[in-house]
Amino acid sequence: MSDECFSPLFVKPLPRMKTQFTLPLSALATIMLAVVAVFSGLSNAQNPAGGIPAPPSEINAVDVDGDKGEAIEVYWRLSANDPSASAMPDLSTDTPAQVTQYTIYRRLADGTDEYTEIGTQTYGVTTFTDSNVKQGVSYIYAVTADSEAGSSAMTVMAYPVAAVMQWFDYEKSWMGLILLFISAFIIFYIGLARSGKELKVRQIAGLSAVDEAVGRATEMGRPILFINGILDINDIQTLAGLTVLSRVARTAAEYGATLEVPTARALVMTTARETVQEAYLAAGRPDAYQEDRIYYLTDEQFGYVAGVTGTMVRDKPAACIYMGAFYAESLILAETGNHIGAIQVAGTAMPSQLPFFVAACDYTLIGEEFFAASAYLSGDPQQLGSLKGQDVGKLLGGGLLTIGVIFATLEVIWPDMTSIKDVRQYIDGNILGSDGLTMTSVEKGSDQWFEELLQRQRDFELNQNALESGGIDA
């Protein structure tokens, strides 16, 4: 490993750091270097290659965009002795100079400390993210290529870099715009419905079944079992399920049916009690509300299922309604419910469990239908408005997908047309990805990138000098 005390000698002369190269230090270093050179010459006597790899040819670093100023990305060019530097790496000749790793060093740009090692990367890699920086402090980075025999000279950055905090994450611009777009339509349609305009939405088969199931349970004098999924209230499906529960409870209260809600989470129990109590009140039957019918079993998935299936075969509910987030327990519940002959309605946004509900339940609300159910069942025209907003979102999504696919196909047919490629890249990387509003034409770490960055920093340097000398009016 390279010794810190030699480092100034390997440094390319830098405009701003000249003061640091005091003569005695460099003289001392020269002598020590000579000594090391002699010794290394001795130790590498049988090895004409010398064993020390060529240093990485260039290094540069930039502030990571869209963060709170806590990371700097360092890029360098591969050493000539890097096994992946040439197109066909010759791994058979295992020369001592072959690079095994790169070591990244850093020091403060004001020169108050020495280079310290901040990390290593394996060969073939040309980037390192330093996430241990202080915001606004300028650093100089350096990198060495290391082989079994020793380390190359340090390649040092020409200009200092500092991490800056951004106030807005521009990479998320498009996401913000799309969020605004969809939300605006949802809010618009809710407002439209509120103003009294009747909105048309299609019927969903599973939904009428919910009321039907409650009615049948009342006729048979048997309870209704409602399962709100097995996740806590920090999952949106649980919340959507609670809205359905509110509606089911209200119907049950009106019909005078018993409603049983075993929960897998204490907080779901607490919230469900609030919801159901309110529903009974709204139905004008607050006296019929039984708190103990909404109870907690256990957080453990299969412990909970064991309890619920036991209850099912003993109480024989006439209707089982599953609304929320489900995992493997879905089929155990649905098969047991089917065995006892209950009407079963399920709704979940867990794609992996949908096949089981579809196979074993009478009606299944698939994904988005489940979220729509709360709007339908509420009977509140305002809530139906939100469905129209969702449809606008689907149009947007389908449109983006179609255009993207068309351009992606064209790109394969005419690979040379850059305009097609640019459109596809803009959809892919900017609108749907995290490249911000404008296209980044230069790939980080490429030749062009290194050049442009250096130029930009030089310009900045000129400005700074001008500012310091008072040459430019602010």
């Binding site: 096994p83 901040i118 990390g119 394996t122 390192f128 993210t129 330093d130 996430s131 992996s352």
Partner: protein, 285 residues
């Protein structure tokens, strides 16, 4: 006969299924495996990394899914150990910790004695917080993993000293039985920070996670079949693994699978014959 089958008590189905699984286990029935392209991709992804690369082994499952995932976890550990990669084990499930012991540390201790704890592999243990853990460690690993599982300070572990965050990992191997798991690794680490990920998942998850292949996920082993194929490719490439009975666990479990599947196929055929006979007799709509 038709009347008996039409009103067949489902307990007969249960009994048949029990026998279909139990008998092959007792008689040790096995079948050959052929590796599919995706399994080859995964194998190649690990094989192509330079020796001594850093690999994050995320064991996000618990004993409930051991049957499917344990053989994969073991096989991943074996292939990485063959390539002398540095292994960082961690778990987002509380019970993932013992899994690391059984399907990681123990394999290395017994089959790869040259692997030294702290230098070649480390067990960072379990951290609560699910995806929140991932979002923190992509930028700052020692912030949450103050110590390893045994309580050694992070910076005192030789192979951790230079690790600031998991962006420095060359590959993430995610073995997952649900949430948090591969999906979260892809969403919060792989995709935003371009860290390559390979995964071994349960059959249920496999179907959802394929949407992430190949851009966000290099490949995944689905269920015991994927595990068996992966064991096969290891057997083919490392002959000494072939002699290790512990490395054939998934292949052994494929016997009950075949018979179980055959039973299900037979049941579906039978169900449809009954349905059509019934329709001809006008009993069903």
């Amino acid at each position: 006969m038709y009347q008996f089958l039409k009103n067949l008590d489902r307990r007969w189905v249960f009994l048949l299924m029990g026998l279909a699984v139990a008998i092959p286990i007792l008689t040790n029935l096995t079948f050959p495996e052929e590796t599919s392209p995706m399994v080859k991709d995964i194998y190649q992804a690990i094989e192509d990394l330079p020796d001594g690369s850093r690999i994050l082994m995320a064991y996000d499952y618990d004993p409930g899914s051991m049957g499917e995932l344990q053989p994969m976890a073991k096989a991943f550990t074996r292939q990485c150990a063959e390539k002398n990669h540095k292994l960082y084990y961690m778990a987002l499930w509380p019970l993932g910790e013992p899994m690391i012991d059984i399907a990681g540390a123990r394999i290395l201790m017994e089959e790869y004695p040259h692997y030294k704890y702290g230098e070649d592999y480390v067990n960072l243990g379990f951290k609560p917080g699910a995806e929140a853990v991932i979002t923190v460690i992509v930028t700052d690993l020692p912030k949450l993993f103050i110590t390893d599982q045994q309580g050694t300070s992070f910076n005192d572990i030789p192979m951790c000293r230079n690790i600031r965050n998991i962006q420095q990992m060359d590959l993430i191997v995610s073995i997952s039985a649900g949430d948090p798991g591969t999906k979260q690794w892809v969403q919060y680490a792989g995709t935003p920070y371009d860290i390559p990920i390979v995964a071994g998942v349960t059959g249920v998850q496999a179907t959802q996670l394929v949407a992430y292949i190949p851009d966000q996920l290099i490949g995944l082993l689905g269920a015991i079949k994927g595990a068996a194929e992966y064991e096969q490719i290891l057997d083919d490439n490392f002959p000494h693994i072939n002699d290790n009975p512990d490395a054939q666990e998934a292949k052994k479990r494929m016997g009950p699978q075949l018979v179980g599947h055959a039973l299900m196929v037979a049941l579906i055929i039978l169900g449809n014959i009954l349905y059509f006979v019934g329709r001809r007799r006008g009993e069903e709509r």
